[in-house]
Amino acid sequence: MSALAIVRAELFRLTRTRAGRIGLVVPALLGAGQVMVAELVATLRAARELAERGGDGGAAAIGGGAEVAAEPAFGPLADGLGGLGAMALVMIALLTGAFTLARERDQGSLPQWYLARSRAAVVVGKAAATCVYVVLAFLALFLATFAAAALGHDYSAIVEDGFEMASAAEQWHEVALAAGAGLPALLCCACFGVLVSAATPSVGAAAIGAIVPFTLLALFQSGLGAAADRLFITYAPFFSERSPLARLSKVARAFSDTHWEAGELLNAALVPGVEAIACIALAWLITRSREG
């Protein structure tokens, strides 16, 4: 396919620039950092509580720490995947998408792409490369969070009063479900950015055009009523409790009142998936009719 060369070139560009590399590691650092800080806070709190009970001495405090660590790593892993790192990843997806065409237009290099492949191939190729970049950043976030959670916990079954609430395999399954259903919303953020990039005159306008409407809709999502169900923003891990990645935090801890609703994960995957394709199609239509 002719867009493949564009995908390769765009990925080369994204991974060779300093900004591109920073974008890959920032969500991972934030995700891992969040897990480690939470771990530290929990350990300190447990130690203080033990100290306040008094009389048990240092050994008991250490025992208290062990009590905190008894929670399986899946909970902290889910916190990292759906927390600050994921929010940063949403912003990075939006901005990377928003810069794809607008930045080239600003620096005068867009004709270099149009001479290489058709406009459709350029739009599709750049959007696909941005999606691959987001997936790479998500993988980095996953690996960093996985490692950070493993520092103080084991990836083991949830056991309460000797009863196994959820095996490790079951929890891995939940993580995989959440990641699979949550990723399309992240990819749609990138594609929405590409659409804005095609429609705006400059990098600044593209950045504002991508972030401001997205943030406003995300913040006031509850006011959208049923329409929110049809909006990819609802499923993005950005101030949204309906994002599979954000919800994973409770699901992975096997809380009795938390489980995936019927069709919830399918919706979370399908709605952003369809809207991502629509964004790319619109971006292509705009680019085709735009001179330059």
Binding site: L4, A9, R13, Q107, S109, Q112, L115
Partner: protein, 316 residues
Amino acid sequence: MGLAPPAAAAGIELADVAKAWRGGAALQGVSLAVPAGTVVGLVGPSGAGKTTLMRIALGLLEPDRGSARVLGVSAAAIARHSGRVGLLLDGAALEPGLTVADNLALHALRHGRGRVDAGPLLERLGLRPLVGRRAGRLSQGEAIRVALARALLLEPAVLVLDEPVAHLDPALASTALDLCLEAARTRGAAVLVSSHQLAELQRVADRLVLLHRGKLLLDGEMAELLATIAPAVRVVARPAEAARAVLARRPEVRGVTVLRIDGVEALRVEIAAAGQAAALNAALHAAGVAVDAIAPERPTLEELFRRTLAAAGAGR
């Protein structure tokens, strides 16, 4: 749309191309061809429509009227010739976060090529020491050289270069245009190059196109166009006023213009036919005028440019 290129297709063909902006017409019925193996110099005052013409030739702009073809196919389908068209437009347009080497690698990847050996080009353009430097940290002249290397990297069959020697010192400007000339001579590339450095352009261009206010004022072989300038003799004599009076009376003299070059007053004497410098020298001596220098003047593109625009009422 998408026709197979004919056997001897010109690199670039524009037929009756017109384009208007809100401020007025940018191009008015322009037709031109850039044949394979030819360097065509595109000149004109700023705002003449040179860049618009180039953008239409590359399919980046759609003309209001007329057609543009590249290597035999519609310019709108130029991507079919991926890697066969080299471009320098809108300045260097490099990726500022990438190094010089990576910028060239990105260009090759965009066109579906692997790593291409840019060594000889980098050497010629004096870019060897800069390969590891980020493009955002290059000077304007360095960036233009990298952009030129990028345009030439894949050995394209068509080269469209807008101001490729801007910001270059004379030696590098000469080298840059030599590379364009070599592309035309050795690989049969069709080269369309615009520049305000007329002396350099005169040296390399086979054909000349002069554009003014969106219209073609000149289009022809460089040598033929230069031959239309009346022969002239440059005279430095004392006293200059006396020399001017003597020369003005001579029947073979068509006109005398006073020039001031590096603080020295000189006369530019247009004559009816070449080879009359000796006769003029003798006449000046006979009138008691001291002649410091007298030499036939080579017709220049600058003179042609100036005269053509003056005749068109451009006043510049």
